[in-house]
Symmetry: C2
Subunit: 337 residues, 2 copies
C-alpha cells in the first residue's frame, strides 16, 4: 500500500493560451478502493488536445475546475481490486488522471489485451487510432478513388486517418503546421501530398494536389481552414468533424465558417461530429483491422513519449502549439515487469 | 402557332436587397421546338427564395446573368411535341422560366398526373412539398416523440415540414416573421408552438416551448438563428440544411455560425444539405403520402397566387421580405379547359 502520491492539479483558468504554470503539482493521499472499485497504478498518460476544451467549458464531460486533478486517459495496472472482472495485474484503460495512482469504478475500466508495445495501445491501437478509424469509416464513409484532405495531419489522429484513407484506396492530402511535418507525411507515411497551413498559397497548393476536388475533409482544427475546404469540396462532400483544436487554446475563438449553411445546401454537404466513446461496438473491429495493417507495414505507429509525470503540463502546452508529431504520451511509471 | 410572347429578363445585379426593377419585361419570339423538344404554354410559375441565390452566384445551377430570361419552375401544357413521351395536352413540370411559352428538351419535363387543383402540384404536392418531405424523412430521420424546430415555418417548405413532423408524432415548434404568422401556425396548422424571430426573448421562448431540448432543426434561413439553435440542440441532434434565405437577399452576408464545428463535435451533431432533385426515386412515394394526408385533413395546403406574369418580380421581392404565407405562385395563364 502506497500512502501518498504526486498528482497534478489544474490550477487556474488561462487567459488566452495555456501555460505550464496553469497547472500545479501536489502531494496527496492514495485513495482506498471501495466495493466495485479498483486501485490502479498509472503507467502511461495520453495527452489530448480536447483537454484544452475540458478546462474551458462544459463539453461531453463536466468542465474541469481549478483545484481538481487534471483528468486524462491512462493505461494502468490494477493493484487492488474489488471488481472480479478486473483481477490484480490486469492492464486497463481508465480516466486515471494526471497522478501516480487512481481509484476508479471497475465499470469504467476497459481491460486491454496487450498484443503490442504498451504505448501502441494508447496511440494507434488506442482511443486516438480508434477515433481516426470511426471518423473515417463510420462517419466519413470513404470510397476508393475519392480524395480526402486531413488537417492536423501529423497529429495523433490525423496521421492515422490519413494512413487509413490510403489503405482503402483514397488519394490523401495532409495539412500540417511545418514543412518538416509535410515532408514526413509524404516520405514516411505515404501521403499523396501535404501542404503547410501557414503557406500564403495554401488554397492554390491544395487545388493543385486535389485535381478532382475534395470528397472528404477530416477536420481536426475547425476555424478559417474549414471555410477554405468548404469551397473545395465536391457536391455530396463530407466533413468529419473530429476536433476544433484551432478554437481550443484561446479565449477569443475565430468567427464561424461563413459558408455554413450556404454551401452545405447548394453542394449537399454533410458535416458530422462524433465522439469515439459512442461507438464502443466497433472498437474491437477497428483495433483488429489496424493491428493487421500495422503487421503488414501499411500503418506506421507515430508516437512521442515524455518521461515523468512532471512533464505533462509542458507536453500539453507543446501539443497545443503544434510541436508534436504523432501521439503525445507521458510515461508515469515503467511497464509492469 | 404564337409568334411573339411576353417574357421577363433578369436585368441587373442588385446592390443589397433585390427590387422589382432589377427585372425588365420584353417582347420576344416564341421558339420552334426541334427534335426531342417540346413547346409548352406556361400556366403557373413557382416563386422560390433560391432564385435570389441563382442570380448572386453559381449554385447547383449556373449563375443567372443580366439579360437572361429569369428561370423558374412552371406547370405547363404541351402544345407542340417532338417527344412521344409527352403528347400534346400533357401537363408537365419544367424549368419554363418567367415567360408565356417555353421550348424545353422533353428529357427535362416531368409529366404530372393531375389529381388535385393544379396549384397544389406546384405547392404542397410539388417540388416545395416534396422538398419538405425529403428533408424531413431522408435527411432528418425523425422519430415520434422528438422535438423539431422549423425556421421560416410559415413559408412554402417550412409549413409542410412542420405539418409532416406533427404527422409522425413529433413536437413541432415554428419560428416565423410575425405574430400573425405564429398564430396561424398554431391555430390553423396545429403546431405545438411558434415564436416570432424578431422577439428579443427568442431564446427563452424557444427553451420554454422545447422543454426536452431540440432533436431536429429544419433550417430554411441560416444566419445567426443557426447559432442559436446549435446551442439548443440535444446530443446527436440533426440540422436539415434546406435553405439559407437570410443570406440570399444581401451582398454582405452575416458571419458564419461560431459554434461550427465546436458544438458539432462535442454534441455529435449532423448538419446535412440536400437538393430535392437528387431524390427523384422518392418523389412518387412522397407525393402519394402527402396526398393521403391532405385527404385525411392532416396536411393543409397553404398557397398564395398572384395573377399575371407581370406580378412575378414583386412576388419574388415580397417573398424575400417575408410577406407571404405558404407557397407563392404566379398564374401566367388559365388552367386548360
Amino acid at each position: 500500500m502506497v500512502p501518498t502520491q504526486t498528482r497534478i492539479l489544474f490550477a487556474r483558468t488561462p487567459e488566452g493560451q495555456l501555460r505550464p504554470d496553469d497547472f500545479a503539482p501536489e502531494t496527496g493521499l492514495v485513495g482506498d478502493p471501495r466495493a466495485g472499485e479498483l486501485l490502479c497504478r498509472n503507467i502511461l498518460l495520453s495527452i489530448d488536445p480536447a483537454a484544452r476544451a475540458w478546462i474551458q467549458s462544459r463539453t461531453y464531460r463536466e468542465q474541469v475546475l481549478p483545484g481538481q486533478v487534471m483528468p486524462g486517459f491512462t493505461l494502468s495496472e490494477v493493484i487492488r481490486s474489488h471488481d472480479p472482472r478486473h483481477p490484480v495485474g490486469t492492464i486497463v484503460l481508465i480516466d486515471g488522471g494526471w497522478q501516480e495512482y487512481a481509484v476508479v469504478p471497475g465499470s469504467t475500466a476497459r481491460p486491454i489485451t496487450v498484443r503490442a508495445p504498451l504505448t501502441h495501445h494508447l496511440s494507434t491501437l488506442g482511443l486516438t487510432g480508434v477515433t481516426a478509424w470511426v471518423g473515417l469509416h463510420e462517419v466519413g464513409r470513404p470510397r476508393s478513388g475519392e480524395t480526402m484532405v486531413v488537417s492536423a495531419a501529423a497529429g495523433a489522429t490525423g496521421n492515422v486517418a490519413g494512413q487509413l484513407g490510403r489503405a482503402v484506396g483514397m488519394r490523401v492530402v495532409g495539412i500540417a503546421g511545418s514543412d518538416d511535418k509535410c515532408t514526413w507525411l509524404v516520405n514516411e507515411l505515404g501521403f499523396d501530398g501535404a501542404v503547410n497551413h501557414r503557406s500564403p498559397e495554401l488554397r492554390r497548393e491544395l487545388k493543385a494536389l486535389c485535381p478532382d476536388g475534395v470528397d472528404l475533409y477530416f477536420d481536426n482544427v475547425g476555424g478559417p481552414l474549414l471555410d477554405q475546404l468548404l469551397t473545395l469540396l465536391n457536391a455530396r462532400g463530407r466533413v468529419v468533424c473530429c476536433g476544433a483544436v484551432s478554437q481550443y487554446d484561446t479565449d477569443s475563438p475565430a468567427p464561424g465558417p461563413r459558408f455554413v449553411p450556404g454551401l452545405v445546401v447548394t453542394k449537399r454537404l454533410r458535416l458530422e461530429g462524433f465522439i469515439v466513446t459512442d461507438h464502443e461496438d466497433t472498437w474491437a473491429r477497428a483495433e483488429q483491422e489496424m493491428a493487421e495493417l500495422i503487421a503488414d507495414g501499411r500503418l506506421r505507429v507515430a508516437e512521442q513519449v515524455v518521461d515523468g509525470l512532471a512533464g505533462a503540463p509542458s507536453a500539453l502546452v507543446g501539443l497545443l502549439a503544434g510541436n508534436n508529431i504523432g501521439k503525445q504520451l507521458v510515461r508515469i511509471a515503467p511497464d509492469p515487469g
